[in-house]
């Protein structure tokens, strides 16, 4: 039986805990009990990046800690108090050079202002019972829902795509937070085709059903509530997976609004608009 993303992620995480566990996957032929994982990873950029990152983390930890003579070397080292005064004083005495404005995106993923939000929304506390779902279940939504069935084979075999590393890192951060949430993105016909997972600090959007757009088009993510729109960002492609990741930042209130929707549209390329002009291709109610 073919392995899905959630199982693969879980298995990789388990193997990473075992001494030389990850190395078993490099054996040729692969051990029979790991064959399904190896097969899956071979054709899946996300899980391939997951595995490569796990390898890299293991290697880095071995390099950094293997010859550590004393655990005290890992005690936190804080800067001396006087340094703060010195640095702030030096800045105070030095005028800031006028320069160009901070590059687009520096203030967050959106380049357009988010319209004012209803003031009645209190940011709800995401309670454990509401979101007490296990890692596998969440991954099943966040990854299986987002990536299942995708033609993810990349010429040259699996490798460590930096963009996938970043996506996996963001997913890790989201899933490591106990109060994270995830909803399925669906096509207008109601087919599950992707996912939005978010924590109090990050959002990760994954979709496998989208074809790469032509050069004059782009998939854009939006938040919609009460007929109002906030542009979130343009999706990127890796393999057959469309994704967007970024900080929750200014959308924290909206992401906590159960009546809001997360929407993906196919838009003309160019600067983002205040509201979508193209067709909705995916959507999810944040309270779903």
């Amino acid at each position: 039986m073919a392995m899905d993303h959630a199982e693969a992620h879980e298995r990789i995480a388990d193997l990473a805990l075992e001494r030389d566990g990850l190395d078993r996957l490099r054996a040729d032929p692969a051990p029979s009990d790991e064959r399904a994982l190896v097969e899956h990873v071979r054709g899946c950029p996300t899980c391939s990046a997951d595995l490569a990152t796990s390898h890299a983390l293991r290697d880095r930890l071995q390099l950094a800690l293997a010859d550590l003579a004393d655990g005290a070397a890992l005690d936190p080292i804080g800067p001396p108090d006087w340094l703060r005064d010195v640095v702030l004083d030096a800045a105070h005495r030095e005028p800031v050079a006028a320069g160009p404005s901070v590059a687009a995106g520096a203030a967050g993923p959106s380049v357009a202002a988010v319209p004012p939000r209803p003031s009645s929304w209190a940011l709800p506390r995401w309670t454990a019972p509401q979101w007490a779902v296990g890692l596998a279940a969440v991954l099943a939504i966040a990854l299986l829902g987002g990536l299942a069935g995708a033609a993810l084979v990349r010429p040259g075999g699996p490798g460590l795509d930096p963009s996938m590393v970043a996506v996996v890192a963001t997913l890790d951060r989201v899933l490591a937070e106990p109060d994270h949430r995830a909803v399925q993105l669906r096509t207008p016909a109601g087919t599950a085709a992707g996912s939005v997972a978010w924590s109090s600090s990050d959002i990760a959007v994954l979709a496998s059903s989208l074809s790469a757009p032509s050069g004059d088009r782009a998939y854009r993510c939006w938040l919609e509530w009460s007929g109002r729109w906030a542009p979130v960002g343009a999706m990127e492609f890796a393999g057959g997976t469309a994704y967007w990741t970024g900080p929750v930042g200014e959308w924290a209130d909206l992401m906590a609004d159960p009546d809001a929707r997360f929407v993906v549209t196919l838009e003309p390329a160019g600067p983002p608009r205040d509201a979508p002009a193209g067709a909705i291709v995916l959507e999810a109610g944040l309270g779903s």
Partner: protein, 221 residues
């Protein structure tokens, strides 16, 4: 550890810094100086030198905040890149000085003209400087770039590990420094194996996130 919530609004902070907002600059210092200083002390082995580099990095931020591009990486990564550049310059200069001080030791070798022997003495001096074994110093003599890079990565990883919660740090340390398996760690700590595994997995998630935030720490492995 590298704060994700912090990273999420660093862009806004830098925008304010670019406009001369000293409060924003202080907030950026409070947010990022710990990781920067920890990495530099571990890399340079000298708190005063580390403090100087931290100061340089933050003043570079103050002067060049308008050039910061959040789409190209996090503020933490930007500061670390500046610090790394300056720290490696210092490291090389110190290594050269240490190597030049090794001449009297060369004289004790059988043949002063013997290049391997001279190299060995320099390695020994460099090893003292690096507080590491001579084999590493041999590599330093052969390829100082590689050794500096390796040492920088080591310092960065140790700093990020040091910022883990104590319970998670201890299982990582037992696994990678003491070489214990998960069940051996459970025995050592007197904790259920499930607890040890979940701690380790949480630690890995944090480490992956923290390391991925710093270019060169994870993706080039």
């Amino acid at each position: 550890m590298t704060g994700t919530p912090a990273a999420s609004d660093d862009g806004g902070l830098v925008q304010r810094i670019a406009m001369g907002d000293e409060a924003a600059f202080a907030a950026a210092y409070d947010r990022h100086s710990g990781q920067l200083f920890g990495s530099l002390v571990r890399f340079l082995g000298d708190r005063e030198a580390a403090a100087e580099v931290v100061q340089d990095a933050f003043l570079a931020l103050w002067r060049r905040a308008s050039q910061f591009d959040a789409t190209a990486g996090s503020l933490s990564a930007w500061l670390l890149a500046i610090a790394r550049h300056r720290a490696i310059d210092r490291f090389r200069a110190d290594a050269r000085r240490a190597a030049s001080r090794s001449i009297p030791l060369s004289a004790l070798l059988p043949d002063e003209r013997d290049e391997p022997g001279r190299a060995a003495s320099e390695d020994l001096a460099t090893a003292r400087l690096l507080d590491t074994d001579p084999s590493v110093a041999t590599a330093a003599a052969a390829d100082p770039e590689t050794v500096a890079d390796r040492r920088w990565v080591q310092a960065g990883v140790r700093t990020i590990v040091s910022e883990l919660p104590e319970a998670e740090r201890s299982v990582v340390l037992l696994a990678y420094s003491s070489g214990l398996s998960q069940s051996e760690i459970a025995d050592h700590l007197g904790a259920p194996i499930g607890t040890v595994k979940s701690r380790t997995r949480r630690a890995f998630a944090r480490l992956r996130s923290g390391l991925a935030d710093v270019p060169g720490l994870l993706e080039d492995a």
